[in-house]
């Protein structure tokens, strides 16, 4: 049963990636005007360049053949050439991918440590602390990343001067300083959501019959929390953490723009403004792939954590 579930999920992964890549490539066909105009972003090019574009995208062939060539190239690491920088898109992506990966990783750590930590504390200790955590998280959950960004810069970079406001660092330590504010801006609302879900999962498990029985049998509290509450609450916590962390990949574009970080997302935004379609398609493909893979990984982790649910789709 478990194997069938894993196989089904992997098949969905491939289908999702095929559909996503088709949407990304098909955008070219939907563009107003001819594909050449879309690819050149409305710039007027010399006939020789037009000819190169025509060759590269196989524009004289049927649409599905064009898609096939494009996908085949993409799978071999060839994502075309930037029309503004006249450079290989794969090279342009490779030089920026670590900024985005580092930012998302840093934010994920913040979410996992602070979000789950706060949720557990609030869930196990009803009272003032819990109430204030609930109100704080309701507010934080509604703060968009870019609003968090300007507020954090205004307070910690301009007023207190603890952290730099803009740009990448030069080495690991200075990068850590440069990425702290962006990572918190990116993490804030997800952190609040994870904390809320953790809290209610803990609360729900703590009220369950088997926990009450364990208490009456005199099982030490530490063991009770670890073995009977956390173990069972781990399932919804893993799911929500995975979903929110996957969603960071798209939001990173906004945060990178706000902090002028030299990452994939900020470059995607600039390329969209410049109508550099090859770059937009390449980065979109990379980001969507990361998003889908993380989501499937969460589903698989979910099946491992809870053998009962090796059948249906992810729990709500």
């Amino acid at each position: 049963m478990r194997l069938a579930f894993i196989a089904r999920r992997l098949a969905m992964l491939v289908a999702s990636l095929l559909v996503a890549s088709f949407v990304i490539f098909g955008a070219l066909a939907l563009a107003p005007g001819n594909p050449i105009a879309a690819l050149s972003g409305g710039r007027s090019l010399p006939p020789s360049s037009l000819h190169v574009l025509e060759q590269r995208y196989h524009l004289n062939q049927p649409f599905f053949t064009q898609y096939w060539y494009w996908l085949d190239n993409a799978l071999h690491g060839n994502l075309g050439i930037s029309i503004t920088l006249r450079e290989n898109v794969t090279t342009l992506i490779a030089s920026r991918v670590w900024t985005t990966a580092g930012l998302v990783l840093y934010a994920s750590l913040i979410i996992l440590v602070l979000g789950i930590g706060m949720g557990i504390v609030a869930g196990l200790r009803p009272g003032m602390l819990d109430t204030s955590a609930l109100v704080t998280s309701a507010i934080s959950a509604a703060i968009p990343s870019f609003v968090a960004a300007i507020a954090l810069v205004a307070l910690f970079a301009v007023k207190l001067r603890w952290f730099p406001a803009l740009g990448n660092g030069t080495d690991f330590v200075s990068n850590l300083r440069h990425f702290t504010l962006p990572a918190f801006a990116l993490a804030l609302s997800s952190l609040a959501i994870v904390a809320r879900v953790t809290r209610s999962a803990i609360r729900e498990e703590a009220d369950r019959e088997h926990v009450q029985t364990a208490i009456s049998r005199g099982i030490p509290r530490r063991q009770l929390v670890r073995r009977h509450i956390l173990r069972n609450a781990a399932i919804p916590i893993t799911t929500i953490s995975g979903i929110t962390i996957a969603s960071l990949i798209a939001v990173a574009a906004v945060v990178e723009t706000a902090f002028s970080l030299n990452g994939l997302g900020a470059y995607l935004v600039t390329s969209a403004q410049n109508k550099d379609l090859a770059v937009v398609q390449g980065i979109s493909l990379v980001l969507v792939t990361a998003f889908v893979v993380i989501n499937v990984a969460v589903d698989l982790a979910y099946a491992v954590l809870d053998p009962r649910v090796a059948l249906g789709s992810r729990a709500q």
């Binding site: 969905m12 955008a27 563009a31 879309a38 507010i139 509604a142 706000a258 995607l268 379609l277 979109s284």
Partner: protein
């Protein structure tokens, strides 16, 4: 099904017994009162924001686009209670006039995704079997595209602007709506009253539109309320990165990006004021949506 057969036989000219489908009629006011103090307070915030969105540019004390080159980032003075922005425009006027596009965009996203999502959900639940399987896995596959990413792609192809962004988000949100509503519609579909109506000879369209949709309406409203908050955040983000509403048009997301330069200069007020508007409206929609969701779940 079988115990209903003696009551209403298919093909009878006049059914012996007319089955009345249950209805969740409680009225909007009763529904709101049941959401508690926090829910009512949120509804008030939403009502104010909606009013401003409709009449904002009429009650703005100054022109939201009138530039004063000599007054960039000048603090609150006299009639200009929130001061001037990066180009010396009145911040309060821009906030009021900007409410229109800031609220209208999410409304379009919610209506679009709700309409399409409900349609897929009800069709899947009604036909069940193969069609349900096809629709459901199709929706699962659509999940693969984060809304913001789709909007950026659309902006690259069609040019930046609110319509492309709103359509992209509506498409990206649709699977979420359809997933939740499909579950509810499936439950409704298996109720005895639906079988009874079928036996009475009511058409599928009638049963779906007149009975199933009204009965999942509370869930639709809750879903729409929560989605509005998400749509507002995402659309403001898209405008913030320059791919949504285009300056100099007033919009809360645009205002944050325009006035970001004021922050290092020690003048964060215009950017933060626009941010506060977004946060206040989003909190209101989140809280009210959560309460409505609990109610919709509780009532079934």
């Amino acid at each position: 099904m079988s115990e209903l057969m003696p009551l209403a036989r298919a093909g009878d000219a006049a059914p012996l017994v007319t089955v009345q489908a249950p209805r969740g009629g409680r009225g909007a006011v009763g529904l709101l009162r049941a959401t508690g103090t926090a829910g009512m307070a949120s509804a008030v915030v939403i009502a104010i924001a909606t009013t401003v969105a409709v009449i904002g540019s009429l009650i703005a004390p100054f022109s939201p686009t009138l530039v004063h080159p000599a007054l960039p980032f000048v603090g609150p003075t006299g009639a200009h209670v929130l001061g001037f922005d990066v180009e010396g425009r009145d911040v309060l006027s821009r906030l009021l006039a900007g409410a229109t596009s800031s609220m209208l965009g999410p409304l379009a996203v919610v209506l679009g995704s709700l309409l399409a999502g409900t349609m897929f959900a009800v069709i899947a639940a009604w036909r069940r079997g193969l069609i349900d399987a096809v629709i459901s896995s199709g929706l699962d596959i659509l999940f693969a595209f984060p809304g913001i990413l789709l909007a950026v792609l659309a902006a690259a192809v069609f040019g930046a602007g609110l319509p492309a962004a709103a359509i992209s988000l509506a498409i990206a949100y649709m699977p979420y709506v359809a997933r939740v509503l499909r579950g509810a519609a499936l439950k409704e579909r298996s109720q005895p009253y639906v079988a009874a109506l079928e036996v009475q000879g009511a058409s599928a369209t009638t049963i779906c539109l007149r009975h199933i949709v009204p009965n999942i309406m509370p869930l639709m409203v809750a879903q729409a309320t929560i989605l509005f908050g998400y749509a507002m955040v995402d659309l403001a983000a898209i405008s913030f990165i320059g791919l949504g509403v285009q300056p100099p048009a007033p919009n809360w997301g645009v205002m944050i990006s325009e006035n970001q330069v004021g922050i290092p200069q020690g003048y964060p007020l215009p950017a933060l004021a626009a941010g506060a508007c977004i946060v206040a409206v989003v909190i209101a929609f989140n809280v009210l949506g959560e309460r409505l969701f609990e109610q919709a779940q509780g009532s079934r």
